[in-house]
């Protein structure tokens, strides 16, 4: 086995929320040593838990599993170590605490930067400025450092001061108008975090590209990502349609933007369900006809009903024009089947289809099991064994996988202070007393 591609690379992680936090999982999965800096006196919103470090017990009793679902419905002592929204973003990392608002804290940060290949942050513009952390300051610590900043709208321009989460900047880039039900209002859209995650993947990519360049030339650099601009790739076809033709696209529900190119019908249709939507027991099948040939295959699976024999439907243009009728007829047909049954039948005939899988069914899925996507692990906190995600991909000839389960707040203070910085016992105690070293958020928050 070869060592991991990023073994020996150290990343000083000043990031937060999803974009920063997920980006460094990708780097850690490839072998980088990620040092996640945390501060017992500073609560980074949507980074380790919501709404704050102390979650009222009543809040853990109800609500969507992904927002308030805590182990045994109990927030416990340190929910920031095992919040369902965030815990999966901490595998393979190290966590240490340091109050970088204090002069000595900033000096220590400088020493760590000098030992690091790259530093990243994605807070609102002003946060780093207030702390005096700039590319120039980091270069004084290490000449060839790589520094990446990823605020919502970048560091220049009239929107640079905007406070935003990924959901808001998706609105600005057009996604709220482009997604959602056909003819529906955008205020029925669910909050999603697509922009956060694409930014995360590309933060990791940008840092690796900069490492590649540094290894070639000895030079570091400064990287600026405006997350709004980064999200644009997800809406590329709509921009191209406007650029080409001056056309302004709107939401079309689950239909394909390629309907006229043969991709119709395309939709989500009801199946036999063990219960209703209010208990999450409603079942649905997603189907995309991707060509004239798969339309023929779908007809066969349906037993070629009379309505499907209309020769107009043999072409993409014909099916695109008949989408209302097709959706109605398909929904009538699917309603008599189990989703898993249709999944197997349609795929056996070469038609793209799958259940809209509710989260409670994921761990039982044969694909998820065959690929060992969720691996039983214990965390530092005694909350029992649960299955947590493994890295997205494996490198068969390189070491990898899960080297460490999701890291607890301040779990690696010993490693960072004693091994990396070489502080004495006496100094360690002093830094603890002065608030730098902690394993729990301050009661003052």
């Amino acid at each position: 086995m070869a060592k991991q591609p990023l073994e020996g690379i150290r990343i000083l992680d000043l990031g937060g929320v999803w974009a920063g936090t997920f980006s460094t999982v990708l780097l850690a999965d490839l072998g980088a040593e990620v040092l996640k800096q945390e501060n017992q006196f500073v609560w980074q919103p949507s980074t380790r838990a919501v709404p704050g470090p102390r979650i009222p017990p009543a809040m853990a009793q109800a609500g969507p599993g992904w927002v308030t679902g805590l182990p045994n419905n109990d927030p416990g002592e340190s929910p920031w170590n095992y919040h369902p929204m965030f815990v999966s973003l901490y595998r393979n990392k190290r966590s240490f605490t340091l109050d970088i608002r204090q002069p000595e804290g900033k000096a220590i940060l400088g020493r760590l930067a000098a030992m690091s290949d790259a530093v990243l942050e994605n807070s609102a513009v002003g946060t780093m400025e207030k702390l005096g952390i700039s590319y120039e300051w980091l270069r004084e610590q290490r000449e060839d450092i790589i520094f990446l900043r990823a605020p919502g709208y970048g560091i220049t321009g009239e929107y640079a001061s905007a406070r935003t989460m990924g959901a808001h900047l998706e609105g600005t880039m057009g996604h709220q108008i482009l997604r959602g039900y056909l003819g529906g209002d955008p205020n029925s859209n669910s909050g999603i975090f697509a922009a956060d995650y694409i930014a995360a993947a590309q933060i990791a990519l940008a840092i690796m590209m900069a490492i590649w360049h540094r290894n070639n030339t000895g030079k570091g650099q400064f990287i600026e990502m405006a997350q709004a601009e980064n999200a644009a790739a997800m809406f590329a076809q709509a921009y191209m349609n406007y650029s080409f033709n001056g056309e302004v696209d709107h939401a079309i529900g689950n239909r394909s933007i390629y309907a006229a190119d043969g991709q119709a019908p395309c939709g989500v249709y009801p199946c036999l369900s063990p219960g209703g939507a209010e208990t999450g027991d409603d079942r649905w099948i997603a189907i995309t006809v991707t060509s004239d040939a798969t339309w023929e295959a779908l007809r066969t699976v349906m037993g070629d009903p009379e309505w499907a024999q209309d020769p107009e439907l043999a072409t993409g243009a014909g099916r695109a024009a008949a989408q209302d009728m097709l959706d109605e007829k398909l929904a009538e047909w699917t309603a008599d089947f189990e989703d898993e049954d249709l999944f197997a039948r349609l795929q056996a005939a070469g038609v793209a289809a799958a259940p809209v899988l509710e989260a409670s069914r994921v761990l039982d899925d044969p694909h998820v099991q065959a690929r060992n996507l969720y691996v039983p692990q214990e965390l530092q906190d005694d909350i029992g064994v649960h299955r947590y995600p493994r890295p997205i991909y494996d490198f068969p000839e390189s070491e990898g996988g899960i080297r460490r389960p999701p890291v607890a707040f301040g779990q690696d203070n010993d490693y960072v202070y004693r091994e990396l910085l070489g502080v004495s016992d006496e100094e360690y105690e002093r830094l603890e007393a002065e608030g730098h070293i902690a394993t729990s958020f301050s009661e003052t928050l």
């Binding site: 591609p5 599993g65 992904w66 679902g69 970048g154 009239e158 929107y159 905007a162 808001h168 609105g171 600005t172 057009g174 709220q176 108008i177 997604r179 955008p186 205020n187 029925s188 669910s190 993947a201 990791a204 690796m208 900069a210 590649w212 990287i223 990502m225 601009e229 790739a233 997800m234 809406f235 076809q237 921009y239 349609n241 650029s243 080409f244 033709n245 939401a251 190119d261 989500v268 999450g280 649905w284 997603a286 995309t288 991707t290 795929q347 799958a354 809209v356 989260a359 994921v362 694909h367 065959a370 690929r371 947590y388 995600p389 997205i392 991909y393 490198f395 068969p396 000839e397 390189s398």
Partner: protein, 404 residues
């Protein structure tokens, strides 16, 4: 200055969206991406929107956006001499990326063992719907189908309606971004350690354990036994939600602790003079919410989304105007930042497209060439690999290569 990957050559056998987006990221940052297209070209040349509306393989907006900066070599890999050309190109390459169905590379005689035997240091990134080894490995996918199965679609939308997806191919673009990280890691293992390997990248897996929220609903259910359901209706609290305004909609988060700035945000209206609005707990009082909204909805209709966003920026509310695509395109901020790029294309003339995904100070994103015409670089690339003009003409005459 040029991109950071200007010493990297990629043989790109990907098609459609996810793979081409991953290789576009490489090409846009300087890599020499040689896109090997089958006779007739990447099927995404047959996906709209088309310039002028009429389908044409050189006028696809999808193909254009996802294939900038690449060189196109049209080669029939089902022909012995086509494969021979592939092996010649491999001698000069740093990596191979493909997105065929599992088994197709083997059946073409271009499988991993063959590649590895010739170039031990060259990685192969295989991007597929469900991976090389899975009970679903031969299953078909689409943006909708993959997002439905692997992404967090079930909880997206309204409770009484069907789950609803994101725009277009957003889920595939997310996966393509993650695939680019796999390419970069494999490239490093190849260049620095001489280790070539096949990386099995599954689009489904990238959603199941990575990009976007699926992991959170799976963990939340394990922890609490509670599912994540769709919402019964538009969730609107005091200053929290998606609101209609004079010229469209705004997404606003000015509740909670931020509510203390509400007066400043609204321009100190008379109706907020009452001290009761100073108590943050008032946001939980349904009658007060109703009273507040009776004024607030009138205020919204008197203001444009830009005015509302500007006011929100001053008081640090989380906010985003819901721009339509023409508004994004014409927006002065992104224009001033230089986000849009002009490409000059042989068939389409000047075309404006979204530009850099991030700015690198030393090795910037660069639009060196627009998306290639089918086979535009066949002669050039085969020439670099040692084919003389006569040999290239012979391949073209035999229908093995398409030369433009």
């Amino acid at each position: 200055m040029s991109g950071p990957l200007n010493d990297v050559r990629v043989l790109d056998l990907t098609q459609h969206i996810a793979g081409p987006y991953a290789t576009k990221l490489f090409a846009d940052f300087g890599a020499d991406v040689i896109k090997i297209e089958r006779p007739g070209g990447d099927p995404s040349r047959r996906l709209g929107p088309y310039k002028g509306g009429e389908p044409h393989p050189e006028k696809s907006g999808t193909f254009f956006y996802f294939n900038t900066n690449k060189r196109s070599v049209a080669l029939d890999l089902k022909e012995e001499r086509g494969r021979e050309a592939f092996w010649r190109l491999l001698e000069r390459a740093d990596m191979v990326v493909e997105s065929f169905r599992p088994g197709v590379m083997d059946s073409l005689g271009l499988g991993w063992d063959e590649i590895h035997a010739r170039r031990g240091d060259v990685p192969l990134i295989s991007i597929t719907n469900f991976g090389q080894e899975s009970p679903y490995r031969d299953y078909k996918g689409s943006d909708l189908v993959l997002y439905a199965f692997a992404g967090e679609m079930f909880s997206t939308g309204l409770l009484e309606r069907e789950p609803v997806k994101m725009y277009g191919t957003a889920a595939l673009v997310q996966s393509g971004s993650a695939a680019a990280t796999a390419m970069m890691g494999a490239l490093m293992a190849g260049r620095y350690q001489g280790v070539g390997q096949q990386v099995d990248f599954s689009i489904a897996d990238s959603h199941l354990v990575g990009v976007d929220r699926r992991h959170a609903t799976v963990i939340g259910y394990q922890y609490s036994g509670r599912k994540s359901l769709r919402s019964p209706g538009a969730a609107v609290g005091m200053l929290n939600g998606v609101f209609p305004c004079q010229d469209g909609w705004v997404d606003l988060q000015g509740g909670g602790a931020r509510f203390s700035n509400a007066r400043e945000f609204l321009g100190y209206p008379d109706w907020m003079e009452d001290e009761k609005w100073d108590d943050p707990a008032i946001q939980m009082n349904p009658e007060a919410v109703e009273e507040f909204n009776a004024f607030f909805y009138v205020w919204l209709l008197e203001h444009t989304k830009r005015e509302i966003w500007e006011a929100a920026r001053k008081v640090r509310f989380l906010c985003g105007p819901l721009f339509t695509i023409d508004e994004v395109f014409e927006d002065p901020n992104f224009r001033a930042r230089g986000f849009w790029e002009m490409a000059d294309h042989a068939e389409l003339g000047e075309v404006e497209i979204p530009g850099r995904p991030f700015l690198m100070s030393e090795t910037p994103w660069e639009l060196r060439r627009p998306a290639p015409l089918l086979g535009e670089h066949t002669a050039e690339v085969l020439g670099e690999a040692g084919y003389d003009a006569g040999a290239i003409n012979e391949l073209a005459a035999a229908g093995v290569a398409e030369v433009r």
